[in-house]
Symmetry: C2
Subunit: 337 residues, 2 copies
DNA sequence: AGCAGTCTGGAGAGCGCTCTCCGATATGCT
DNA sequence: AGCATATCGGAGAGCGCTCTCCAGACTGCT
């Protein structure tokens, strides 16, 4: 930087001002400085910059609760198996990149890892954290809030916490599914729920039952799944065994719907003629299904982008009031219902 | 840090030595310092540390060539749709985390983005880069090498470049598939290749044809796919139309095999009885197939870990000789063949 | 006991930047 | 012309750490 200043015949301060576009600098001098920068091939040092600005220009993208507690898991990869996380990452990057902010990938499936995340932020390696929890009882949000560290959440925290988050209107989505199944003429409707310790799963189930009740169907059989392909297949098997006359199913996510479809095929049930199937998420699994899955789409990318925006705002002014933004899902009609 | 030093009655230098475990420090003093650290709740500032060590403790995990060149793509998410990338990320994190190194997620699908990656490293925001290219003509590796920036590659670069990489023995994998199909008694074997501008696709095709020739099958029909589900389905359609007697197929990746399986089902061909199918990658798609896919597994996580190791070595001693590590794939027999 | 050699803690100089002051120059007003 | 006011560049003090150098204490040898 000294070199640039010398080459341009100005002081370091002026070079700094040109680079950061702060205050007015004579356009002629600005041009001289730029040329000097180009000539010397100067690139500012991020560490030095961070040291004084107390900003790193990066945020932690934390996937929490990814593995089994206490289990040795050298390769925390199953997170990515669900394309959902990829969409989140895409949305976050889409928003942050134009601002020159970069996400650091962090996994926090054990208590030790969670402590590391807190340290990571404490040490100023990132300015804040975007949390994507895969299960309900994640202690990390509270740790972060208690530590006064800027953080935001994908999905509403199970216990009330002064933290900003985005979420989807699960109940509205479930209602969309209910309306569609009933409009199709389904009379024996059942549902495959997600793990009921997850808030989203609860909301989807409750929303579905409420909507169905409103439509004159007070009793909706339900089998609990685990948001996985296999659990969906197993749930459908049970549904078929216990309620052979089922002609419409709402699955709390696409992956389970895909599994359910496989079970239906094995039992010779045609979809959608014999049994109609509606999923949730509009993940890539929905397109991989045969027939392609009718599903509830939430704007994950937009939600993730909004989440990134909330975090940046929080970093900018830490004593800011927390907010939540709820997105409305939409029904995507394909062939399965 | 000053506070810690005062609290422990030592100098800053000693505190630093205790924290970094460098040189011998009197165990008694060490203990005092540790207690002082705990008492003051001190956390070292990463920026200050980086400023002098010229190390950030983070590496860039770059997904290159993720989107369509020149196309506006605010959400670069389709990368994650392929679970392969998730396994890479898992492997990298698995190796780096115990060393306190963290990966920063970077996308480089446009020239502008590629320049940003180079700048990112130049500015010292990361110590090096792990590149995962999705297509052959990626100019980024060369940019990095020319810039003298530490970088390593997943998969062999199309043009020779002084850069370390890991790869899988594609030909060996293809041979495994050929042996298996022939051993099953297939007589009319065809293959669905990947996009032939990708080296891996070329190798898998050539390896398969060579192995089949060695087994007495000199002519192997091939349809080129694009490593996607749909392209696999379309390729199988064409294969079925042009070679109705086909009874064994080697697909250059699992996703295409999954698509091919759907086409076969639609045509009423039983798998594996009428047509046997072997995929490549052992991705999660292989398990989602019905029947589950026999496929060639490469140890992606191990490869990614090794790649991370190579990068760290390179960062440690920049003038180090470049190396390549080739991993042997294995055959995973499931039900499709 | 005396000396070279080894070990350990402290002092202090930066690392490369930003940003607050300050002073110098240009501008607008009476 | 003379003053107050706005504008813009420079000087220099840190930001929080690491690490080299140095001095003092201690060891083992003759």
């Amino acid at each position: 930087m000294e070199d640039v200043a010398r080459a341009a015949g100005v002081s370091r301060a002026t070079v700094s001002r040109v680079i950061n576009g702060v205050r007015n600098v004579n356009p002629a001098i600005q041009e001289t400085v730029r040329q000097a920068i180009a000539a010397t091939g100067y690139v500012p040092n991020q560490a030095a910059r961070s040291l004084v600005t107390r900003r790193t220009g990066s945020v932690a993208l934390v996937v929490s609760g990814a593995g089994v507690e206490g289990e040795e898991n050298p390769f925390p990869n199953q997170v990515f198996a669900d394309p959902f996380f990829g969409r989140v990452a895409g949305g976050v990057v889409g928003y942050l990149r134009p601002l020159g902010v970069h996400p650091v990938l962090l996994f926090a499936e054990t208590d030790a890892a969670r402590a590391e995340v807190v340290d990571y932020l404490r040490q100023g390696k990132a300015d804040g954290a975007i949390l994507v929890s895969t299960h309900g009882e994640d202690p990390l949000p509270k740790l972060l809030v208690d530590g006064g560290l800027p953080a935001v959440l994908f999905a509403r925290p199970p216990e009330p916490l002064p933290i900003s988050y985005v979420d989807v209107a699960h109940r509205t989505g479930a209602k969309l599914a209910a309306d569609h199944l009933v409009a199709r003429g389904c009379h024996h409707v059942a549902t495959i729920s997600g793990p009921l310790d997850v808030l989203a799963a609860q909301d989807r189930l409750a929303g579905f039952r409420d909507a169905m009740a409103m439509l004159g169907h007070p009793y909706i059989p339900c089998v609990e799944g685990a948001f996985t392909l296999d659990s969906g297949e197993a749930a459908m098997e049970r549904l078929l065994a216990e309620h052979p006359d089922v002609d419409g199913v709402f699955s709390a996510n696409d992956l389970m719907a895909q599994g359910a479809l496989q079970a239906l095929r094995r039992h010779g049930r045609r979809v959608p003629d014999d049994v109609a199937m509606v999923g949730f998420d509009d993940s890539s699994a929905a397109l991989a299904c045969r027939p392609p899955l009718t599903t509830i789409r939430h704007p994950v990318e937009d939600m993730a982008a909004e989440l990134a925006r909330l975090l940046l705002a929080q970093i900018e002014q830490p004593d800011r009031r927390v907010t939540s933004v709820i997105f409305e899902p939409t029904l995507v009609v394909r062939e399965s219902a």
